[in-house]
Structures are given as structure tokens and as C-alpha cells.
Symmetry: C2
Subunit: 395 residues, 2 copies
């Protein structure tokens, strides 16, 4: 196989953009990124007949299916990408894998860990198939560099993490564009399942999973929706290290500031574009044992001998689209050449676990442990689906 | 009265600096700030005979007392400043007021709200005496300007507050310098009662008191002490607004970043020196009703017509010392001219209430309400004093 023929399921804003990336045609969104070298568009699938008409016009040479199972069994594709409501990610992935088709799932991996675990367990039985997830922000060189620094222990252990990620502004018209959006039954949540999964993944990818989570969660904050769109979480990593994660969809100025404090330095990432890495000249432990407050104050003020830390600034300006194509190409190369994935599908469960822990803590009004009690989470979610009364409960 | 004759109680690092400010002599710390116009040094008091010798050498013309009550009744002073272990602030204030002496207390007002309330109630019975507190950071023009903006509702209501105040690095030698320091029985706590009271006060002064507090508190984090020196708190203001407060004493790089999100803008203060005020061109409510994600993205990228917000930067570089003298002068003028205080003593209870709520939440492992149950707090504090076994419990 030279090129992986991919079938896109769900040709909305995101799926349309992917079709554009893969064909070099503007597509629905009008956004063009460079084509991935080892992937081509094999087929399109959507249940909406209006979408079918649009696709016939935009991509007349590409086969279209109204039923994803039919597409999977058509022989026209080697892999699927699932840009569909989040609840469907797992069942589509399992079906495709069962038919020998590779899967690149959209984020989040699913809505609740129980369903994601079923998917992961099934994927484990298919070691010859490639199962990836669209964590496009993992391709950001800044975050790759930071993960490298953390993993190498160059700066020692993490003492604290703080991420304020409020750059997910969404107006009411966004929420009103489809009936499933921003509902418990249709989408499975709000900012934690739709916007922030990228940061939840990067946060755990870089800093590891916490042991405990407490969260203050607001539902429909400054918006007419029933799900969460304003979250303040505190986590405990179990080794004296702590963290906070703050996100909302009603801040148009949009702070995105990620700070990690280490034994021997600090990293501050601003707007996912600029990272400042501070490396202490002496470790904090050594400073504690050998320096006075006055010694440190002198260094801070530029007096005294030597300096407190070295500073390195790194920048990355990869735009939206480039990141997605990079994940597609990474996935395709894993199929064609057997190279390891940047974002293995099985890792998607970690961000889902974090989102579940945050919501469960908010619902129960107390700190919860990780791993989350998956049955309890599903029960609590189903209570909210029932109260909402728009969609069936989940099993 | 042209000049208020002040008696300093406790001539350690802080009291010695104040003596220097008031006399224009370098004093113990070697730090000189401009003298307050309406205040002069009337007497000095300390229980340590070594300190008495030092004072005799540095300030031979100033009366020295080993007993604060004797100084208060000496006729040589009109007011006191209490740079003493925090537990003593309230009893000294009450004694001075009972003898017709004005009081400028050091921060924190006390260790637990029960004792502070007793002091405030007593001060209320002495309306002719001036009762202030050394919240020197209230003199920072940045914070005054921000308080003005908040109070005027120019930017609407507050939606979120975030303060990371880690610039309180303290080495082990600092903690080891006296037996009462960083103990439950002698000092009453750690970073929340010694270093962060300034920010706890500014935070509530500017943003108001929250209704609920949850905190993850670490005791002796990277230091050999029994009290808290690493705190992560989440607060709820009861109107959909939330906040976080993060502080520790083991970060030598020392982040100090205070962000307030409003209906119509945002304020970010960095290092207590620079504030950026973002004023949205349209209110967020109006944006939500009239703008799409694409409209906003265009403005952010500098495309489209108009702009998302105006930006104003204000800076303040008042050094340490100047702020303290400004509070002294403000206090003296209140006595001499009857002008209102920038930092009334009765307001000290609010920061103590916040510190108590944070510790109580940490001890109980759950969210607590404000006002804090003052008897419960004292019981829990006394448990820790007993376990520590160094000082008597408090009543």
C-alpha cells in the first residue's frame, strides 16, 4: 500500500475541512492545508441528504455513503476518520476494526470511560490494525519539546501545574446550530468534551495523570445551555505536587497560560505559541540549603554574583489545519511503514477520565479519585440525560 | 497634636526597619525610606535584652521598654505599631485602645477570627481612637486603580479571579531563625498567616469576599516545617463567579500573576508592577448575541472591521519601605486631621477569615462556607497545637 484510502464519516464543518485537506479543494470550510503524502480520500459518509448533495457538487469523483457500515464494507477504504457526535466514536471504531479497517478517531475518544475502555479492549485484540486519535495539538513543537524536558527529568520533578485555557469562546449561535450540541444526551457535556479535550490530553501527556480531582463546575454560565461551560479544577498528583485547570467558553479575550513548576526550574507557555523555559542555576534544594532570602533578592535585582536562572524562549506558529494534516500523515505512515503513532488511540481514555473526574466531582460536590468509578459516572450522567429529556440514556 | 508619637512593639527585622524609617537612621536592616511627615518615634519596646542593647546603641535618644503595657502608660506615645508574633496582635491592640492609645496593627489582624472579632468589637467601643492595619500593598497605585475600576462597575461584574502568588520564597534558615516561626502554636500557620495576608487582603478588597472555599493544602512542602507552605484554593462568589488562589514558599522564580475576568473586559497584573486593562469594544453579552466565532477570530487576527478590545497598561514601581511609610503617614493623618483610613483595622478580619477558610477546608478535606465556623476553626487549630506540643492551646 502506497497511500491509505480514508473514509470520512460525518461531513460537517470538521469533516468538510478534512475532505478539503485530502483533495486540495476548498471544501465546505474554504480552508486549504497541504495534502498528507500517504493518505487520500477514499469515500465520504453522512446521514444528511443535504450533505450528500453538497458532496456531490464539491467532490463528484468521491464515492458517498449514507450508512457508515456500508462504506466500511465497500472495499473503497482502508481506514476511517470519525468526525461525528462524540457518543458514536467508540461504536464506529469497534465496527471498523472488526472489519479490518484502521481507525483515526476524533477527540474525545468517547464520552465516558466505560465505553472507551470497551473500545480500547477491542482494539487490543487487533494488533495489526492502526488505531489513532486526532490530538492535533500534540504536533505542536512547543509541547513536544516540553514533554521531552519533563520525561528527561532535566528540571527534576514537577511541583505544580496551572493551566488557564479560556480561549474557547463560543456564542449562543454556536450552541444553537444543532440539537445534539451542548446536551448531556446528545453530546455528553460541554467544554470538557468538545473544546478542552486537547488541553486535557496535553496536560496529562506532559504532566501525567493526577490521583485526585476536585472541581467547581458551572453549567450554562452566561449561555443558554444545560451542560458545563465554566470549570475550575484542582488536582493532586499524590507526591506533594498539585495543579489547577481552568476553562470556559465566555471569555472572548481568551487567556491561554500553562505554567509548570519544577524542582529546578519553570516553564510558562503563553497562547500555545511561546514557551519560556527557566532553568535554575542551582537546584531549588541546593538554594534552600545554601542561600538566604537576601542572596536570592540580590540575584533577582541583578546585584550579587552569578544569576538565579537561565531563560530560553521557544516559539511555534503552526496554524490550524497543518496540525490536523500532520496527525493524518503520522497515522498513514504508521499503516504504510509501521512507524509508532504520536497519538495512539488507546491514550484517548486519559483525557476522558480527567473530564469524567472533573464532572463527577462537580456533581457530587467533593473530591474524587482517579480512576473514576465508571459505573457511578455513567449513572450520574444518565440522571442528567433523563432530566434533560431529549435523548435516550446510555448503557 | 502636630506629630503622632508612635511606640514600636517588637524590634526585630520589621520593627527595626520601622525605627529606621521614623528616625532617618539606618537601623538594624540598613533600609532607609523617607520619614512620614506626621509621625515620630516616641518609644521602643522589646522583651529581648539583646535587642535592648542594640536599641541603646542605634537609638540612644529614644525611650526603651521591656514591657509593652508600661510603654503604653508612659505618656511618651500616642499610638503603637505591633510587629510581634501574630497571636499577640489582638491582645496588644485591645490593651492600647483601653488606655486611649491609637493602634496600627501589623498584618495579619490575628490568627483566628474569634480573637479578631473580639478586637474589632472592642475597637468599635472606641470611636475616637484610630485603629489601622499595615496593609502596605493597598498603597500600590495599580491596585487602587483596579479597585476603582471594579467598584465603578465600568467593566461590569467579575466572572473569575485567578491569583498565583508564588513570589514568597523562603529557605529553611528563614524558618529556623526563631522557635515560634512556622508553628501552629507560636505563629498560627505558615504562608497564609505570614506572607500571603497581603494578597488575601488585596484579593478581597478588590474582588469581594467569596461564599465558599475549597483548598488543597500542603504542610512542609520541600521544607522541614509543620505548617502550610503550599496552597491551592478555589472559591465561589455565589453568583456564578469563581476564583483560584495559589501560593507557596518554594518557588524561587516566583510567579505573581493576578487576573480578573469581567463581563466587559479583563485585567492582568504581573509582578504587582504592571497591569494590563482590556476593555471590550462591545460587552461580552452583546458579542454573544450578535457575533459569530468567525467574526471574533477575524478581529483577533487583525482582519475584519474594528477591534475586539482596547488595551491600557499601567505601571507602578514603588519599592518596599515607601509603602509602609505611606501607611504610617495615612494612619498619622487620620489621627491629626481625621481623614479616612486607607486600611481600617476592622477590615483585617476579612483576610483572616479567608486564611481560616482555606486551612479549615484543607483540614476537613471538603468545601467550607464563609463566614467560617469560628469555634470549629479554633478547635481544629488547637488540635494541631497539641499535636505539635511546643506552645499552649488558644482560647
Amino acid at each position: 500500500m502506497k497511500k491509505v484510502r480514508v473514509g470520512l464519516i460525518g461531513i460537517g464543518a470538521q469533516g468538510g475541512a478534512y475532505a478539503a485537506f485530502l483533495t486540495g479543494k476548498p471544501g465546505f470550510g474554504g480552508i486549504i492545508a497541504e495534502k498528507p503524502e500517504h493518505m487520500e480520500l477514499g469515500a465520504l459518509c453522512d446521514i444528511d441528504s443535504e450533505v450528500e448533495k453538497k458532496c456531490a457538487k464539491e467532490f463528484p469523483e468521491v464515492a458517498f455513503y449514507g450508512d457508515y457500515k456500508e462504506m466500511i464494507e465497500s472495499g473503497k477504504i482502508d481506514a476511517i476518520i470519525t468526525t461525528v457526535p462524540h457518543y458514536l466514536h467508540t461504536e464506529m471504531a469497534i465496527y471498523a476494526l472488526s472489519k479490518g479497517i484502521h481507525v483515526l478517531g476524533e477527540k474525545p475518544a468517547g464520552v465516558y470511560t466505560k465505553q472507551v475502555k470497551e473500545m480500547n479492549d477491542y482494539a487490543d485484540t487487533k494488533p495489526d490494525l492502526v488505531f489513532g486519535i486526532m490530538f492535533n495539538q500534540r504536533t505542536n513543537k512547543l509541547y513536544q519539546k516540553i514533554k521531552e524536558i519533563v520525561d528527561s527529568k532535566e528540571l527534576g520533578e514537577i511541583r505544580r501545574t496551572n493551566w488557564i485555557i479560556n480561549s474557547w469562546w463560543r456564542p449562543q449561535t454556536y450552541y444553537d446550530q444543532s440539537s445534539w450540541r451542548a446536551t448531556w444526551g446528545g453530546e455528553g457535556g460541554g467544554v470538557l468534551v468538545n473544546q478542552a479535550p486537547h488541553q486535557l490530553d496535553l496536560w496529562q501527556w506532559i504532566c501525567g495523570m493526577p490521583k485526585k480531582v476536585y472541581a467547581n463546575v458551572k453549567y450554562g454560565s452566561h449561555r443558554d445551555i444545560g451542560v458545563e461551560n465554566d470549570v475550575t479544577a484542582v488536582v493532586d498528583y499524590g507526591n506533594c505536587a498539585t495543579g489547577t485547570f481552568v476553562t470556559c467558553t465566555h471569555d472572548p479575550i481568551g487567556t491561554d497560560r500553562f505554567e509548570i513548576d519544577f524542582d529546578n526550574g519553570k516553564i510558562v507557555v503563553e497562547d500555545s505559541k511561546k514557551a519560556t523555559i527557566y532553568r535554575l542555576t542551582k537546584s531549588e534544594k541546593e538554594m534552600n540549603e545554601t542561600m538566604s532570602m537576601m542572596d536570592v533578592a540580590m540575584l533577582v535585582q541583578g546585584r550579587g554574583e552569578g544569576k538565579l536562572f537561565d531563560e530560553e524562549v521557544i516559539e511555534n506558529t503552526d496554524g490550524w489545519g497543518v496540525q490536523h494534516v500532520t496527525v493524518m500523515e503520522d497515522f498513514a505512515k504508521a499503516i504504510v511503514h509501521g512507524t509508532p503513532l504520536l497519538a495512539p488511540g488507546s491514550e484517548g481514555i486519559k483525557g476522558v477520565e480527567l473530564a469524567n473526574a472533573i464532572l463527577l466531582s462537580g456533581w457530587l460536590g467533593k473530591e474524587v479519585e482517579i480512576p473514576v468509578d465508571q459505573e457511578l459516572y455513567l449513572d450520574e450522567l444518565n440522571k442528567r440525560i433523563e432530566e434533560e429529556g431529549k435523548f435516550p440514556t446510555r448503557g
